[in-house]
């Protein structure tokens, strides 16, 4: 039977403030374990939290960018559960007076856009990290992450397919990056995601039993877990079985979800107002100021790229998905005034290179000036398309400007016609068999000879020029031979 999937996403994003949410410890991924903690984030006896102004303002910034209503007063609550990565055995979070509610994010489906509701946005502290020993029944705790500011963004169950869920995540990530509040690096855990999914027949109004899936460490995992879970639930429903209300874990190795706990014995978090923190009144002036200072968001930039640079909707979409990519495009386009060429270089070779190496854009040293320079070198005929690709690869590899690579590798095209003729003649001399084949009308013999000629030029010859030259010489030769025979 056909079912409609009803999906909601719960995204936790780490805010990249300088210091933690309630203490002065650095927020810095990759530090030595247990080296970025203090009495406050370790929850030692007697300590008290003090709220980070930057996290507060960034939280509001995200809420406004997501079109959410910022509460007049927000407060913190304690969410209580025992876990060894949670130093106080309660998490300072927000319960009934969160930072913001009722927002939305627009995603671009197959050409038609769709507004996905956002249920609530709240601030909370992150927990530490657990590692599990493989040979001993022990776990290791690193508290560095404890107290890092987290923003939890909970969507409404408005997503209807795995693809929509994926697009929501991509768009949300783009928005957060544009706001410069987080690097949204899933590998480093600065963006994390839980999802819930239920199935219903298209005619049903009420939702089916909701299954929550945790442990999704990449966008791909979200996709795969949802696909798997939708299939699993559909199969059960087809068999006439009921879906259990439960939390499941995604096992990426086995590519399946596994039951974690049922909702009946769900934790009793015993929320109550955090007595160590006072309420926070969100002044409408502050909201207006933050609103006014919002940067251009991905959707707005997409529109602008289409109208200003005459890009296609697709190009604009790809180029704006990451803020840094969009900025590279725009700066380069301004430098060389050839937006379409810039778009092609970025979307083609650059993204292919990054994908192949599994790198983020900021992992390579790259200046807009360099790409502009490269495009200029192609334009003035210094580099052929093939050579430019090679140079570009070296630019990305070594992080130096194209002109330097061109100079040091004498990667300029051979423009000396005498030298080209010399190359062509030597090829003709050395491959009499191919020359004969050509004279008998075998066209691919020419391609072979051109290939040999290019090889000898170490790629520096212009292939079209080489082809023309060889064809002229071979034709002349054939005429001479035929002429002799007829004489």
């Amino acid at each position: 039977m056909e079912y409609e999937s009803v999906i909601g996403l719960e995204v936790h994003v780490q805010l990249q403030t300088k210091s933690k949410l309630f203490c002065g410890c650095l927020v810095n991924f990759g530090a030595a374990p247990n080296s970025q903690t203090c009495p406050v984030c370790l929850g030692l006896p007697g300590v008290l939290p003090v709220f980070n102004r930057q996290a507060f303002e960034w939280g509001i910034r995200v809420a406004l960018a997501l079109d959410a209503t910022v509460g007049r007063v927000m407060k913190f609550d304690r969410k209580q559960y025992f876990y060894p990565d949670l130093p106080k055995n309660y998490q300072i979070s927000q319960y009934d007076q969160p930072l913001a509610r009722r927002g939305a994010l627009t995603i671009d489906g197959e050409g038609n856009s769709k507004r996905i509701g956002i249920h609530r946005i709240h601030l909370e502290e992150d927990a530490g990290k657990l590692l599990h020993s493989t040979d001993e029944p022990v776990s290791f705790v690193d508290f560095n992450r404890a107290g890092v500011p987290l923003l939890e963004i909970v969507s409404e169950p408005d997503l209807r397919s795995t693809e929509e869920a994926y697009q929501y995540l991509v768009e949300l990530k783009a928005v957060l990056q544009y706001l410069e509040v987080s690097n949204c690096n899933m590998e480093e855990g600065s963006l994390r995601c839980d999802t819930n999914v239920s199935l219903r027949r298209p005619t049903d109004i009420s939702l089916g039993a909701k299954v929550e899936i945790k442990n999704l460490n990449s966008f791909r995992a979200v996709k795969q877990a949802l696909e798997h879970e939708i299939k699993r639930q559909a199969l059960l429903l087809d068999q006439g079985s009921a879906i259990a209300l439960e939390t499941r874990l995604w096992d990426a190795k086995r590519q399946r979800t596994e039951s974690m706990r049922s909702k009946e014995d769900a934790a009793d978090y015993r929320y109550f107002p955090e007595p160590d923190l006072v309420p926070f009144v969100i002044d409408s002036n502050v909201v207006e100021q933050i609103q006014a200072a919002l940067p251009e968001l991905p959707a707005q930039r997409r529109q602008r790229f289409q109208s200003v640079y005459q890009l296609s909707a697709y190009d604009a979409h790809v180029l704006t998905q990451e803020r840094t990519l969009a900025e590279l495009f725009e700066r380069t386009a301004c430098l060389c005034q050839k937006p379409k060429a810039v778009a092609n270089w970025i979307m083609g070779d650059l993204l292919a290179y990054l994908n192949a190496k599994n790198l983020a854009l900021d992992a390579v040293t790259l200046r807009p000036e360099w790409l502009a320079q490269l495009i200029g070198l192609v334009d003035d005929g210094t580099l052929s398309g093939t050579m430019a690709k090679e140079v570009w690869g070296k630019v990305l590899e070594r992080g130096i400007e194209p002109a330097v690579i061109v100079r040091e590798g004498s990667l300029q095209q051979i423009v000396d016609v005498g030298l080209l003729e010399h190359l062509a003649d030597s090829v003709i001399r050395e491959y009499p068999k191919s020359v004969e084949d050509y004279s008998k009308g075998k066209a691919n013999a020419l391609m072979y000879l051109v290939g040999q000629g290019m090889k000898r030029s170490q790629g520096k010859a212009n292939p079209q020029q080489m082809t023309q030259l060889l064809k002229r010489k071979l034709d002349e030769l054939r005429e001479r031979i035929t002429g002799r025979v007829t004489e």
């Binding site: 300088k18 210091s19 080296s35 903690t37 022990v138 290791f140 705790v141």
Partner: protein, 99 residues
């Protein structure tokens, strides 16, 4: 009497990570029952239109600037821990699933 029974106390003890059984459980259940019985006197007081007080002071918006401060050394943190395997604090293995 009869506000809480031993089953409830057992459930609450599980939430609080305390172990109680036998006579100790009976005794503490009886004491809690007595105390909660006493607390019932509040139910006589109408409070429908009363706002709850979680802070007696009317302080709001107490914030700190986003300025980093010194952390404790790794050594200090690990020295506090009853069991450690530098650079980590160790605990009996945590099992992610309960099923």
């Amino acid at each position: 009497m009869g506000v809480v029974n031993t089953e409830t106390v057992k459930h609450v003890a599980a939430l609080a990570r305390l172990h109680l059984e036998g006579q100790a459980l009976e005794q503490i259940a009886a004491q809690l029952d007595q105390i909660l019985g006493y607390v019932q006197l509040l139910q006589k007081l109408p409070t429908d239109n009363v706002a709850p007080t979680s802070h007696v002071l009317a302080l709001t918006n107490v914030l700190r600037e986003d300025t980093p401060a010194a952390s404790l050394s790794q050594d200090t943190v690990l020295t506090l821990a009853p069991e450690r395997h530098p650079p980590f604090v160790t605990v009996p293995k945590v099992i992610e699933t309960s099923s």
